[in-house]
């Protein structure tokens, strides 16, 4: 095995561990922290089913952002949806299941072009960050770097598809052996710059996910203004620490 292959194997194990453990800890923190008061932003659903629908609209259509600013919504929504489509296409590197492979192969001819939508979305978001004075004011260096990181991941990935084809069979074999811990038949990663950069940056993204603003992804599901049922008069809602005040 090449040094590159060994290094990337180690890197991806570490990155996966940090991502999974980091996110699990964060989600567990959100889960354990009580919400002592009913604070849904009203009008809010009066049933649990309604809350599920509200959350669905929020997560899938970015409903609140749509109400706010159409440009940010457009770029943000296009970026996220394209990202999910592209990620879905990446399943082919991780699974042997024929049914999934069939779907991925079916959508691939279309989905691969969504890499461009993703890049355009990111450029649009960065444009707002640079040129709208209010958004520029609230941007820290990390906010710019996050966009740069995602852009480089998108561009390097697109390069391997559209400019300098990577040996995807080898890449898949590499990740399959990582996933199955079968190191004896682990192939060397293709030694071309775009895939190396792409994989390196993806590992960086995985590592910083649980310690950055990317926590908005689990965060939205725990947002009390969005996930609470509007029924305070019907059901008494009280946190454990608040109940102690009553004794």
């Amino acid at each position: 095995m090449s040094f590159l292959t060994v290094a990337f194997a180690a890197l991806f194990y570490a990155a996966t561990l940090l991502l999974v453990v980091g996110l699990a800890r964060r989600i567990s923190l959100y889960w354990r922290t009580p919400a002592p008061l009913k604070i849904p932003t009203t009008p809010a659903p009066v049933t649990q089913g309604g809350v599920v629908l509200r959350m669905f609209r929020e997560v899938v259509f970015f409903e609140s952002l749509f109400k706010s600013t159409k440009w940010t919504w457009l770029f943000g929504w296009v970026f996220h949806m394209a990202l999910f489509a592209v990620l879905f296409r990446h399943l082919r590197y991780f699974t042997e299941a024929e049914s999934i492979m069939a779907v991925v192969t079916f959508v691939s001819p279309l989905f691969k072009y969504l890499a461009f939508a993703m890049i355009i979305g990111l450029l649009g978001l960065w444009g707002r960050r640079l040129f709208v004075d209010r958004v520029r004011y609230i941007s820290a260096p990390s906010d710019h770097l996050m966009l740069l990181l995602l852009l480089l991941i998108g561009i390097s990935g697109a390069m391997t598809t559209f400019v300098a084809h990577t040996d995807v069979v080898m890449v898949k074999a590499f990740f399959r052996s990582l996933m199955t811990f079968s190191f004896s038949d682990m192939p060397n990663l293709p030694n071309d710059p775009f895939i190396v950069v792409h994989l390196l940056l993806v590992a960086v993204l995985m590592i910083i996910f649980p310690i950055s603003k990317l926590l908005h992804a689990p965060g939205v599901f725990f947002s009390p203004t969005r996930n609470q049922v509007d029924n305070p008069r019907e059901q008494r809602h009280i946190a454990d620490w608040a109940r102690k005040l009553e004794q």
Binding site: R26, L29, Y30, T33, P34, A35, P36, L37, K38, I39, T41, T42, P43, A44, P45, V46, E58, S64, L65, K67, S68, T69, T72, G76, L125, R129, V132, D133, R134, V135, Y137, I138, S139, A140, P141, S142, D143, I208, I211, S212, K213, L215, H216, G219, V220, F222, S223, P224, T225, D230, P232, R233, Q235, R236, H237, I238, A239, W241, A242, L245
Partner: protein, 513 residues
């Protein structure tokens, strides 16, 4: 036009988002609470010596108690969706009045002390040490948030700046830096029973005066009872309703509605205040203590129902929190929601047909309606979501022939705060209040010019006081503001009412039964 030593914003036909001008409101801050007021709320009298460590401890404590705070400090991606949504930013251009700008004052300290990135790469993620300068900034800008939640409507993660402001104020209170206006008022509630410090005798006098006025005017003996044991309904209303204009006209209206509905009701001298400033300072303990008075009054008087008068944040605390803070209310009649809003009651009576209404009594007005922020975005009326928008309008339309709404992006869930909510209704913040009212004033001016609107109805004591004070700065008449139940009061024809001389048409007289 009222005089001011600051520039009054110019109202535009098409509202604009102003460019960022840092520091325009850095000088604005309310008076600090004196030690005696701090101590009656169980807070240290003045800035404690180890304030830095105490503040970080307090932040850690609140992070463990409030999921909202923990999730919201983590989740912001700085997308900018909220940046043009706060009335204080729109009125002042100060970027620390953008919701995210305000949150970041707390978030940068959170990141520095509670996150990996902030501990090791502070510059990268905009994390900062808690210094005296940062604390001063907190005091200045967390007292420029009226906790109206407009930002939370537009945030893709529902981040509510009100939650952040409340936490910041609680942290400051715990290290001895309290705001005079809020904390002095809460102290008065504990000591006397209401925000204004009206003792029982004065209250009784006032109510007696109201009874005389109504009887003089209508010939009907409408009662405004106080501390009547065994009454069915306990009415809890903001103390401004006892004497401020136009609030008191609303109280007169509640009494007339109860009278016509034939229910027995009472006010309480113990719970002679609907407002709960404990919410403004983010103090669960104080909010609970203030709420408990209402439970105790209801138990002592033996009432069956609790109804709240017209007040915005009071209705939020009542509707959303009262069951949590002072429940369960299993000793009340389970047929009725606890608590109810006076508008739910009045609209219910209107549907039953118990009220005899002469709409022409309000024909001298073209009315618009200001949705109060806390009612609109933090509570509900009636069984359906959005009832908080429909029921007040239904009632207004039932008593007024001419009603016009303001621009859609300024009403319902997108309503603008009056500029005086959240514990900012104090003269030491006059500049902020005037500038923060700008978006509402703009929308109002447009319906005045386009539709000849003469009056704006409100259902919140703070909104009413704030507009009364601020309208003259914008060249409008302070008497434009009316209570919704004032409109009801004008139009209601009491059973056995003798007509005033100035009643225009004889037809309406025939409506009496």
């Amino acid at each position: 036009m009222a005089k001011a030593d600051f520039e009054i914003p110019e109202l535009k036909e098409f509202p604009e988002v102003p460019p960022v001008v840092p520091g325009t409101m850095a000088h604005s801050q309310p008076f600090i609470a004196k030690p005696e007021f701090q101590e009656s709320l169980n807070f240290p009298g003045e800035l404690v010596d180890d304030w830095h460590d105490k503040a970080i401890d307090a932040m850690g404590d609140l992070l463990g108690k409030y999921r909202s705070l923990q999730v919201y400090l983590d989740s912001c991606v700085k997308c900018g969706a909220c940046t043009d949504k706060c009335h204080y930013y729109l009125g002042t251009s100060d970027p620390k009045n953008m919701p995210v700008g305000r949150q970041d004052l707390l978030r940068k300290v959170y990141r520095r002390y509670f996150t990996f990135a902030g501990k090791y790469f502070p510059k990268l993620v905009g994390a900062e040490d808690l210094t005296k300068e940062v604390l001063d900034d907190w005091y200045v800008y967390f007292h420029q948030c009226s906790q109206c939640r407009r930002c939370s409507v537009f945030c893709p993660y529902g981040i509510d700046t009100a939650e952040i402001s409340m936490a910041a104020r609680e942290i400051m209170d715990r290290i001895g830096v309290g705001q005079k206006y809020c904390n002095e008022i809460i102290g008065k509630v504990y000591k006397i029973g209401n925000n204004l410090g009206l003792p029982e005798a004065a209250l009784a006098d006032t109510l007696e005066g109201l009874e005389e006025d109504v009887e003089d005017e209508t010939g009907v003996a409408v009662k405004y009872p106080l501390d009547v044991k065994g009454a069915d309904i306990l009415l809890v209303t903001p103390s401004a309703d006892f004497f401020a204009e136009p609030h008191v006209d609303g109280l007169i209206g509640y009494g007339k509605v109860f009278h016509e509905a034939g229910v027995s009701w009472t006010l309480s001298s113990k719970a002679s205040e609907a407002a709960n400033f404990g919410m403004f300072i983010g103090s669960y303990e104080n909010m609970r203590r203030v709420s408990m008075r209402i439970r105790e009054a209801a138990l002592e008087l033996g009432v069956k129902r609790i109804i709240f008068g017209e007040c915005g944040h009071a209705w939020r605390v009542a509707y959303s929190f009262l069951n949590t803070l002072a429940g369960p209310f299993d000793f009340l009649d389970p047929k009725y929601p606890v608590p109810q809003h006076i508008l739910e009651f009045t609209w219910g009576e209107m549907q039953k047909g118990t009220l005899n209404i002469d709409k022409s009594a309000n024909d001298d007005m073209v009315v618009t309606f200001h949705d109060s922020c806390n009612v609109a975005r933090a509570s509900r009326m009636g069984p359906e979501p959005g009832g908080q928008f429909k029921i007040p309008r239904n009632v207004i339309k039932a008593v007024c022939n001419r009603f016009v709404d303001m621009a859609p992006e300024t009403i319902h869930e997108k309503t603008f705060c009056c500029g005086g909510g959240g514990g900012l209704l104090t003269d030491d913040l006059m500049e902020l209040r005037v500038k923060g009212a700008k978006p509402r004033m703009e929308a109002l001016k447009n319906v005045i010019e386009e539709h000849g609107v003469t009056n704006m109805a409100a259902i919140c004591a703070i909104c009413k006081s704030q507009f009364t004070k601020v309208l003259p700065y914008y060249g409008m008449d302070m008497d434009m503001i009316v209570s919704v139940h004032q409109l009801v009061s004008n139009a209601i024809v009491l059973t056995g009412q003798t007509n005033d001389d100035d009643d225009d048409e004889d037809e309406s007289a025939g409506d009496e039964d």
